[in-house]
């Protein structure tokens, strides 16, 4: 068994891991090791050959691989060490990792700090319980994307997409451009679960119908998918009898949500947030286990890579601070999801950080709304209010708390975020 020591070990080299590793190095950590199970760096970005990445961060519309490339070259220049084709099997609370690859066999890695950046995985048919047969031709949208964009094969020629998540929308367009027939995107909710820009660019621009309040109630076909039955659903999301319709197709793509991939975190007994499915983190992006940090989709599912990068810089910075003994001290306060908000990340904030630097809180609303304010209350007292013209569950809301928003000498225990209808008083 080969033994390695390093200051910071980063698990997963998607945009989260790439940014975290680079920032840890830049912030003065000594040996930084970036560990990736796939054959190249970049994570999910490598199969996202469409553009639209980096609009906020770089003011440019990059493709996924281009976005990743910027960080890959930067990390290389900075001296971040990389282990490719290497799967981390276990993270111990004492920051020891076990990983394997073909070349080195089993590696035991002792790190000063660990950053978890394993990303997320797609929800599958079982998770949404679609009755019917179990033929070939049922794919999650991301798996189909890998087949088309990385392997050059077509999962099918006549496609039905269940769920309007971003990957599904992007694949609808990709299949249409390949000459396949996309019969439609069926979404159980009364609103789309993807970014508005994807609904417009991927569906509208390609004449692909979006059926809201619809779901797939049965899959047909013994060997290969031969069709699906779709139906309208009522407010309780149950199919309405009599509205069933059979749609012939050879492929069903599922774009029904993503789940943070926290097998390693769970085995290490890291506290998880049941709402996000990811670790509970501080504003240093530190988990409940000291010295173990997390960032990106492993913490909560993001819709924009730019936010992933920003959040991951914090993790890199936090890990560097820890190994250098520069962690912030003093009291922490909890964030809380108030009315209309599903969750808030980070979960805990250092009062010291709040006073010194800008703090960004990421959150998702429970339901779509127009003309609202997002309010931040410190122990019940409003300290900040931001106007939003539209908020939708599919689009993450971020609220920036400028340094100095909290008066000198003030202590507090809880920061609550809530949605308030414009015109109403909170």
């Amino acid at each position: 068994m080969r033994k390695i020591e390093c200051d910071v070990a980063v698990v997963g080299a998607g945009p989260a891991g790439l940014a975290a590793a680079g920032r840890a190095k830049a912030a003065g950590a000594g040996r930084v090791l970036l560990i990736e199970r796939d054959r190249e760096l970049g994570g999910i970005l490598q199969q996202c050959i469409h553009n639209g990445f980096g609009l906020h961060l770089f003011g440019e519309e990059l493709t996924g691989p281009e976005y990743a490339y910027r960080f890959i070259t930067e990390n290389q220049a900075a001296g971040v060490e990389v282990l490719l084709g290497t799967m981390v099997l276990e993270v111990r609370p004492d920051r020891r990792l076990y990983a394997i690859n073909r070349r080195d066999g089993m590696l035991e890695i002792q790190a000063g700090a660990v950053i978890l950046a394993m990303g997320c995985r797609e929800r599958n048919r079982g998770a949404v319980t679609i009755p019917g047969t179990r033929p070939a031709g049922i794919f999650t949208a991301g798996t189909a994307q890998r087949f088309v964009n990385m392997e050059g094969f077509m999962p099918g020629r006549r496609i039905v997409i269940l769920g309007s998540g971003d990957i599904g929308l992007i694949m609808a367009r990709r299949f249409a451009w390949e000459g396949a027939k996309v019969e439609g995107v069926f979404e159980i909710m009364p609103y789309s679960n993807g970014l508005t820009r994807n609904v417009v660019q991927c569906l509208h621009d390609n004449d692909i119908p979006l059926y809201l309040s619809h779901t797939v109630v049965e899959i047909h076909g013994q060997e290969r998918v031969e069709g699906v039955t779709v139906a309208k659903v009522d407010e309780k999301l149950t199919p309405i009898p009599g509205t069933e319709r059979r749609v012939p197709c050879d492929t069903l793509l599922l774009s029904v949500g993503l789940i943070p991939e926290n097998e390693l975190s769970r085995d290490a007994n890291i506290e998880l947030d049941p709402v996000t499915g990811g670790p509970v983190v501080s504003d240093e992006m530190e988990t409940s286990l000291p010295g173990i940090f997390a960032c990106g989709n492993v913490v909560h599912v993001h819709d924009l890579v730019d936010n992933v990068t920003r959040e991951s810089w914090l993790a890199g910075e936090g890990a560097a601070r820890l190994v250098q003994g520069r962690q912030p001290r003093g009291p922490l306060l909890n964030t809380r999801a108030g009315e209309g908000i599903r969750y808030v990340v980070p979960h805990r904030l250092h009062l010291a950080n709040l006073k010194e630097r800008e703090t960004t809180l990421y959150m998702r609303v429970r339901e779509p709304a127009e003309h609202v304010r997002i309010e931040a209350l410190l122990d019940g007292e409003p300290i900040l209010s931001v106007r939003e013209r539209v908020v939708r569950p599919a689009e993450m809301v971020s609220v920036k708390i400028p340094p100095g928003s909290i008066p000198e000498g003030r202590t507090a225990t809880e920061l609550t975020l809530r949605v308030v209808k414009e015109g109403e008083r909170g």
Binding site: G105, G126, A127, P131, G132, R157
Partner: protein, 495 residues
């Protein structure tokens, strides 16, 4: 069409056909095991509850009752010889109401008559202490310590592999379509590619055993498929039951139960619905709801949100007997049925195989023991079950152990490659799944499908778009990118 000569042709490679094949492999015989699907264990054997029943259910005097207890008794040894996962967990029948308790005593009595050892009625305290997640309303339970759980398809695969290693010939993708008789005796068995001249035929065709019997003119039973639907839950919840937990049985089934699987998942089901169509393996909203509702009675805290998949299986119920159909077809002494093997058929399989052997002998087959019969079969060692040190050693020996293919079940490339090169050919995604668990975890193939498909294509010399899920038309991919665009262009050029 190739002509072959056999002593015995076994039709169907489920748990029954493979058990018989392994049994006959002990003797100096030319045996063919003939299966219509692309792999063994594709029928009822791949979709059932996988419980090794103790044997108190069946009514005394039936084949089911006699062979269950006999089969159960030899399970530990067979699973040891074949390295098949098996746990003798014991089983519990749980009475949720006072008025169900008399039924427990009825089962206890029946079990005594059937010869089931060590049955015991336990009280509420004891039950809740052993099974803390059982509905606290429960009042008592029947404890059967000889019950257990097994990996059913792996047992069938193992039996087939062991049979093949001991000389049995396996023909896959060869449905038996015609059987030629001569003077009231079977003479030749036909499949699309082969004509097998044989001295004996064994009918182990499961749901189709009535149709195979028709091929020799036997009309006195028919098979009614009886569907059972299931949910499988994430491995994190396997610990919620320590052993199979049955409700008090109904008239037609043992009821919807909650059980750990031998691989550590939690399983609930099956319901029971009689059908016409022998291929109707659809899960249905009504069926799944029934399963969930009743299972929640037994275990109110089921992790409903963490189901990873659902599936259905079809029991082969023989009418009118409602029992196994065992023995020679009337008037065709060299055609032996092992038909209509419904539950507890998996448990009874070893005993069914012995019965069939004895029938063959009675019908004139000479049994000379093979000197070189090897009862042992080595499994594919699951990487996930090893210590870090053992894992390190394996990767040193074969670097393909250093490549994880399935992240949920921690399956390595080495295991997939091994699965593809064993005595029983494995050529499909489902075949790899059943042999290695790649694709059986919580992401249900989202991660490993492209990776397994690539290894399968490479090792078998196929193009990626020739890989199938389960043989036949079940292709995973439908061509290359640009195919459609190019063919449209071509069509335009022609126009």
């Amino acid at each position: 069409m190739e002509r072959l000569k056999a002593d015995v042709v076994i039709v169907g490679a489920g748990i029954i056909g493979t058990a018989i094949a392994r049994e006959l492999a002990r003797y100096e015989l030319e045996v063919f095991l003939v299966e219509k699907e692309a792999d063994v264990a594709c029928g009822s054997t791949k979709a059932n509850t996988a419980i090794v029943h103790a044997g108190y259910d069946a009514h005394p005097g039936t084949w089911k009752a006699r062979l269950n207890v006999r089969g159960n008794a030899v399970f530990p040894q067979i699973c040891r010889e074949l390295e098949v996962p098996f746990k003798q967990t014991g089983t519990l029948v749980v009475a949720l109401k006072e008025d169900e308790v008399p039924h427990l005593y009825e089962l206890l009595e029946r079990g005594h008559v059937n010869g089931v050892p060590d049955l015991e009625i336990i009280g509420r305290e004891e039950l809740l202490c052993r099974e803390p997640n059982v509905n606290p309303k429960a009042v008592a339970a029947l404890w059967a310590p000889t019950g257990g759980i097994v990996n059913a398809w792996e047992l069938a695969i193992a039996q087939a592999e062991n049979a093949v290693e001991n000389g049995v010939k396996l023909l896959l993708q060869q449905p038996v379509t015609r059987i030629e008789l001569e003077d009231g005796r079977v003479r030749t068995v036909f499949t699309p590619d082969f004509a097998i001249e044989t001295r004996f035929v064994v009918n182990a065709a499961g749901r189709y055993s009535d149709e195979v019997a028709r091929l020799v003119g036997q009309e006195n039973f028919r098979i009614v498929p009886r569907k059972g639907e299931y949910y499988v839950f994430d491995k994190r919840f396997g610990h919620m039951a320590n052993c199979p937990l049955f409700p008090v049985p109904t008239a037609i089934s043992k009821g919807i139960l909650v059980t750990p699987t031998v691989e550590g998942n939690l399983l609930i089901g099956p319901n029971a619905q009689d059908l016409e169509d022998k291929e109707d393996l659809r899960t249905t909203p009504a069926g799944l709801k029934e399963v969930l509702t009743q299972a929640l009675e037994l275990m109110p805290d089921l992790p409903v949100k963490d189901a990873i998949t659902n599936f259905a299986g079809l029991r082969a119920v023989a009418k009118p007997s409602n029992d196994f159909v065992l023995g020679p077809a009337p008037g065709v002494p060299n055609f032996i049925n092992a038909a209509g093997i419904q539950s507890p058929g998996l448990t009874a399989a070893p005993a069914v195989a012995e019965e069939v052997r004895d029938h063959l002998q009675e019908a004139g087959l000479e049994l000379h023991g093979k000197k070189k019969f090897n009862p042992y079969r080595k499994r594919i060692t699951p990487f996930r079950e090893l210590s870090r040190e053992e894992q390190a050693k394996l990767i040193e020996q074969d670097p393909r152990y250093g490549q994880i293919v399935c992240r949920c079940e921690t399956v390595t490339e080495a295991e997939v490659v091994q699965a593809l090169h064993r005595p029983v050919p494995c050529t499909t995604m489902d075949g790899v799944k059943r042999r290695t668990r790649a694709g059986m975890g919580r992401c249900q193939g989202g991660f490993c499908t492209p990776r397994v498909a690539a290894i399968l294509a490479r090792e078998l010399g196929l193009s990626l778009d020739e890989v199938t899920k389960k043989g036949g038309a079940s292709k995973l991919l439908l061509g290359r990118t640009k195919d459609i665009l190019l063919s449209e262009e071509e069509a335009e050029a022609h126009a």
